[in-house]
């Protein structure tokens, strides 16, 4: 039994009692987590990301709801994005700020019926995860999206955090299930007001039925004092398509695990990611794509900018199962270093157990190109502006992929705030 988990155990005891079946499930999860404790540096997956501060801070689960007035809330929303949304404030659902579309419901653990059980089962490979177990034990409202068909509007899961006296943990659980041939766009966003010192522990499980397509934009804009840990676990049936845009510029410490299982022929995944760190931020991305069936495709492009004394970790794993012939997988991670104090650990991993596959990967770490800088300066652009232009160009490769103008505009603004020397191209 790990004492680091004591605050979470206390929090569980203080929570309102869920339905009996769920209570049992939660208790088991808590016991597993407690017996196992937090991962340690010996675990390869945690080699470069220390949990010491997270353990020391002992983030108790938030006990009560935090009220948020409309004016404060307005500051946290994205200009130009007006769509149905489910809003959580400091980890708890806020009905007044939400507008739920058809197919979305918020299930309270105190009155959850057993149909939720199947959706909460940890996917293969995640049965031993302390953070997922803690999440299962401690979430109080699950956000459930079940969809058939094709809604006209995107949907936003908006998790906002505002400063409170104590440093609480927020355990957010979402499940998404797209029926056959359904199509949707989900915007999952974490936004924090300056000074919010919480710990977000979020898990999103996604099931895509045959022929369905999900565009999933995930924006991590937490306050610069926050801790953020996320799991996005995707299971895909035949001919389904998962397109991820993962944008991260917030939090003092963050870790995201994004795992995709391509379980049947024709399934494809596209993972786009962008991160920026500055100051003393620490940011870790672990992605994993399992090609479990023949004729599956994955494309992954992650780019990051590191400034100040920022530190980033990228670990991208691609596994091709023995019978998954005709797999087509490509992965790339590029890092731009703007200061001497930064550190990047990037590691692509390919495990291929099948013949007749097409797999590629590559990682680069570099500074601004001197020849490009000179070229711009030789045309009359001053050194500072030239640098800004090149930094912006590096980021723009991913900004340009964001699916809605409001999202791209936001990401560019956010990036300009994070990296002072950047200049992003004018948008026509």
């Amino acid at each position: 039994m790990s004492s680091a988990l004591a605050p979470y155990l206390e929090g569980f005891a203080a929570q309102p009692k869920p339905q009996a079946w769920l209570h049992a499930l939660k208790e088991q999860a808590l016991q597993r987590a407690s017996a196992r404790g937090f991962p340690v540096a010996r675990d390869e997956a945690w080699k470069y990301t220390s949990l010491a501060v997270l353990e020391k801070r002992g983030f108790k689960p938030a006990r009560s709801k935090t009220p948020l007035d409309a004016a404060a809330f307005a500051k946290l929303t994205l200009p130009g994005l007006d769509c149905p949304r489910a809003v959580f404030v400091n980890g708890r659902y806020d009905a007044a700020l939400s507008r739920l579309p058809q197919g979305v419901r918020v299930v309270q653990s105190v009155d959850a019926d057993e149909s939720l059980r199947a959706l909460l089962i940890a996917p293969k490979g995640w049965e031993e995860d302390t953070f997922l177990d803690l999440n299962t034990a401690l979430f109080q409202e699950a956000l459930v999206l079940t969809l058939d068909g094709e809604p006209a509007e995107p949907l936003e899961f908006l998790h906002v955090s505002v400063p409170t006296i104590d440093s609480a943990s927020h355990h957010l659980r979402s499940v998404v299930k797209l029926g056959k041939h359904a199509r949707a766009m989900l915007i999952e966003r974490y936004a924090g007001l300056d000074g919010a010192k919480h710990f977000t522990n979020s898990s999103v499980q996604i099931h895509l039925d045959a022929g369905s397509k999900l565009t999933h934009v995930r924006i991590q804009d937490e306050s610069l004092q926050a801790f953020h840990l996320g799991r996005v676990l995707v299971e895909q049936a035949a001919d389904s398509s998962y397109i991820s845009h993962n944008f991260q510029a917030g939090a003092a410490w963050s870790r995201l695990d994004l795992a995709v299982s391509l379980s049947a022929a024709g399934a494809e995944a596209e993972l786009n990611g962008f991160y920026a760190v500055n100051g003393r931020q620490h940011l870790d991305n672990h992605t994993r794509v399992d090609h479990l069936a023949p004729h599956t495709t994955s494309r992954e492009l992650y780019r990051g900018i590191l400034d100040g004394q920022g530190r980033a970790v990228f670990n991208g794993k691609v596994v091709v199962a023995p019978h998954a012939v005709k797999t087509d997988a490509a992965q790339a991670n590029h890092n731009l270093l703007l200061s001497r104090g930064v550190e990047i650990d990037t590691k692509p991993e390919l495990e291929i157990y099948a013949d007749d596959v097409k797999c590629s990967h590559g990682a680069t770490v570099g500074q601004l190109d001197e020849q490009q800088l000179f070229y711009l300066r030789s045309r009359g652009i001053d050194a500072e502006a030239a640098r800004g232009l090149l930094v912006g160009a590096f980021a723009e490769r991913l900004m340009a992929l964001l699916p809605l103008p409001a999202l791209a505009a936001h990401a560019r603004r956010r990036l300009s705030a994070a990296i002072s020397q950047i200049a992003l191209p004018e948008q026509s």
Partner: protein, 250 residues
């Protein structure tokens, strides 16, 4: 306009220019020729302000100012333009954005107002047409995926838009087929002006058939070893450079 006196320069500790002197006047169109390794490209790069060259002696005066004391962007704004031998690709920065930023930086320096987007676009499109370039090039990233010929054309387009006082062309003819060479030459000739100087650095005579120089200087061993009129270029074409290398030693 440009006065180079006794210029000595090193690259990575090795002396490349060894006492080069050269005068270029407004209105001049001159060619600097020479064998590989004679210091032609080094000279062009030093004039544009590239890092990595150590000037150990001599001076370069441009319009009465010490050119070597200026940053590359200050030189550009003062009217110096280098058309690169190998223009670099810059993914993510589009051509029109670069052109506009460069154009306005130079206008600002001259105390002129920035041109608005519509007028600027009209100006660039006219010049593109002259250079026989498709307007789609405007919205492509700078030189990205351009063929060798397209890159060179793009350099000349920039030159036409920026209207420098001193245009330096570094091996602009290399890698061009005859049609592209003619277009590039047309662009250079368009810039001939009594107020402007054009300096072409080239290994071969080819470009000089289309852009006829007033003066030809031959560079060998890091110095100007012979100067003459356009007929000197023809002589070099016929006899090669070896007879001049002997002249250096003599």
């Amino acid at each position: 306009m440009l006065s180079i006196k006794n210029l000595h320069a090193k690259v990575e500790g090795r002396e490349i220019l060894k006492g080069l002197s050269l005068e270029v006047k407004a209105g001049d169109v001159c060619a600097i020729m020479g064998p590989n390794g004679s210091g032609k490209s080094t000279l062009a790069h030093i004039l544009a302000g590239r890092d990595g060259y150590e000037v150990t002696d001599g001076s370069v005066t441009y319009e009465g100012k010490d050119l070597l004391a200026l940053a590359p962007e200050e030189r550009a704004r003062a009217g110096v333009f280098l058309a690169f031998q190998y223009p670099v690709e810059i993914p993510g920065v589009n051509n029109v954005y670069l052109l506009k930023a460069a154009f306005n930086a130079i206008r600002k320096q001259r105390g002129e107002e920035e041109l608005d987007a519509m007028d600027f676009l009209a100006l660039v499109k006219a010049k593109m047409q002259f250079m026989e370039m498709d307007p789609s090039f405007l919205n492509r990233a700078v030189n990205e995926g351009f063929s060798g010929g397209e890159k060179k054309r793009n350099e000349i387009l920039q030159m036409l838009v920026l209207e420098p006082k001193l245009a330096l062309l570094d091996e602009t003819d290399s890698g061009l087929d005859i049609d592209a060479l003619k277009v590039v030459a047309k662009g250079v000739n368009k810039l001939r002006d009594p107020q402007r100087a054009i300096v072409m650095v080239t290994h071969y005579q080819r470009l000089l058939d289309y852009v006829v120089p007033d003066k030809v200087h031959v560079l060998a061993g890091g110095r100007v070893v012979k100067s003459g009129g356009k007929e000197l270029a023809l002589e070099l074409e016929k006899r090669g450079y070896d007879w001049l290398k002997d002249a250096v030693i003599a």
